[in-house]
């Protein structure tokens, strides 16, 4: 059994995948290639990492208003993260999920964590999201 975190649900849903975590905010416009699901902001610690299908944890977005549109393209192209975790309610991510739901009935879960809980997240650890619960396990253990 892993550690269980209770989070604030912004967009409900279920997901499982390996975590991709950064303490640095990210603009998806200029930062995320929706054709490949890769993070391309050369100034970001996750540059070069593929976020498609991962549970992406970022404190919040920064920069361009077009972040939402890029994430919508990623949902349509099947290159979006499986879920996104933040430390506050991020309206840019939320809107992408809401419009994806309206257009494609394909929202992704979005949850907001306290900074203390966010600090528990470790890249590559498996995680599972159900409702407002995030179950974490470390190393190779499955969840």
């Amino acid at each position: 059994m892993g550690r269980v975190i209770r989070a604030q649900v912004v967009i409900p849903g279920q997901a499982r995948g390996r975590l991709l975590v950064s303490r640095e905010p990210l603009s998806f416009w200029g930062g995320y290639d929706y054709r490949t699901g890769t993070i391309i902001d050369q100034r970001h610690p996750l540059a070069g990492q593929v976020a498609a299908g991962r549970i992406l944890a970022l404190p919040h977005t920064r920069g361009s208003s077009t972040t939402t549109a890029v994430l919508l393209e990623a949902v349509a192209a099947g290159t979006a993260p499986a879920a996104i975790l933040t430390t506050g309610v991020d309206s840019f991510f939320a809107l992408a999920a809401i419009v994806a739901d309206e257009l494609y009935q394909a929202a992704f879960p979005l949850l907001s964590l306290t900074p203390e809980d966010f600090a528990l997240l470790i890249t590559d650890d498996p995680a599972r999201i159900e409702g407002d619960l995030i179950t974490l396990s470390s190393g190779e253990a499955d969840v």
Binding site: Y34, S65, T66, T68, V70, L95, A96, I98, V99
Partner: protein, 410 residues
């Protein structure tokens, strides 16, 4: 609108807006009297589908609404590396938003058009630099709206009563104090993009107030500051004590409360921020590009005398990006003759980041814009050098990067 009696487009827009209102924690909506749409930029098929869905449903905006940059320069795209398929889809997206009654301004600097909002006006704007300018420099009130929601606000004439629409959320919580920054540097154009880049990194999502200015910045300097802060951070509102309209005094910007945090900005901090805007040390250069946010009439007027009687090096292209309206004004004012004689080029309605115009041979660019410097390495896979306007012109003439370090030496 939610029940569809106002038609299917307002229902779709209000459905999205109502769901977002609860994300923002708003219990009600408020009336807006203007909007600026960033969604007009083509980036892929999903955004185009969204625009054409709304257009097919007969969507019409309820308030005066301007359009941000488009994904293609309709008149000149074929002179560059833009694929035909991209140009056609970008054009369809432009048509869709124009059909909704939006004004085809095609600029990321709508605050330098006749649709400039007024102090205190409630608006719903997309485009990060424009949001920061409207809130900070004009004192209009917009939340940091994402693409796709801006048009929902325009169609419904409403916005969530939350965030920066409300006075209490416009309070500065971070005090950034300029410490011994030389007046000559403060007066210089290249100070502002660098300060903006640093402000964005320090502030993140918070509202900062800058204190310690000994000069009165120009509008275009404040534009550069806003664009820098909205690129490296999520700054949607900043104050400058004694200068911006909600900061007659430092105490007013803080709304008579103590700041949550105070930080000093020193010359070494600024030098470091300036270094971060450059990704390489070499001197070779393929292109100089100016105009993010879009070049203003005053910027054309400042550029023209620097170009007079000179020509660019044959290996370095020299590009200015602006709106079609501003280019017409600059033409009438006589500022474009010097640009043409210099060997410079003009792209309107879009920019190097928003249309795939640059040929692959362009790998090393130079700019005076923090926003171009911030985004080009990731989006265009170019190296970038940041310099002042004078540095950029001198480098284009020399064919290699030349920068005057005098002001930054301290």
């Amino acid at each position: 609108m939610l029940d569809g009696r106002a038609g299917p487009a307002p229902r779709m827009a209000m459905t999205i807006l109502a769901r977002m209102a609860s994300v923002y924690g708003a219990t009600e909506l408020l009336d807006i009297s203007g909007a600026h749409i960033d969604s007009s930029l083509y980036i892929g098929d999903a955004g185009l589908e969204y625009a054409e869905r709304l257009a097919e449903l007969g969507a019409q905006v309820r308030v005066p609404t301007t359009l941000n940059v488009s994904g293609v320069d309709e008149s000149h795209w074929h002179e560059w590396a833009v694929p035909r398929a991209w140009a056609e889809k970008a054009h369809r997206q432009m048509v869709a938003y124009q059909s909704m009654g939006c004004t085809p301004t095609w600029t990321c600097a709508p605050y330098q058009t006749e649709w400039r909002p007024r102090f205190g006006q409630q608006i719903a704007w997309g485009e990060s630099n424009a949001i920061a300018f409207a809130n900070s420099v004009i004192g209009a009130r917009t939340e940091r709206y994402p693409d796709l929601l801006d048009i929902c606000c325009a169609i419904t004439g409403r916005a969530p009563a939350a965030g920066l629409h409300l006075t209490e959320n416009r309070r500065a919580t971070l005090l950034l104090r300029l410490a011994d920054i030389p007046p000559a540097l403060q007066a210089h154009d290249s100070f502002y993009p660098v300060l903006g880049h640093l402000m964005g990194k320090l502030a993140g999502e918070r509202v900062p107030v800058l204190d310690g200015f000994c000069v009165g910045p120009t509008e275009d300097q404040l534009k550069a500051l806003a664009a820098g802060g909205a690129s490296s951070g999520a700054v949607a509102l900043f104050h400058i004590a004694g200068i911006t309209p909600e900061a007659a005094t430092l105490d007013e910007a803080l709304q008579h409360q103590a700041p949550a945090q105070v930080m000093e900005i020193t010359l070494p901090h600024l030098r470091q921020a300036r270094r971060e805007l450059t990704t390489r040390a070499g001197a070779a250069l393929d292109m100089v590009v100016l105009g993010s946010p879009h070049f203003s009439l005053a910027e054309f007027a400042a550029l023209a005398p620097l170009l007079a009687g000179r020509t660019r090096h044959s290996d370095v292209r020299f590009l200015v990006t602006t709106s079609r309206m501003m280019s017409m004004l600059a033409q009438r004012a006589g500022h474009l003759d010097a640009l043409r004689a210099f060997g410079g080029e003009l792209t309107v309605d879009t920019c190097i980041l928003t249309t795939p115009m640059l040929p692959p041979a362009i790998k090393r660019i130079m700019t005076n814009s923090a926003k171009y410097a911030y985004y080009s390495p990731g989006m265009l896979e170019t190296d970038v050098t940041f310099g002042s306007l004078e540095d950029c012109v001198n480098s284009a003439v020399a064919g290699v990067v030349v920068r005057d370090e005098t002001l930054w030496a301290g």
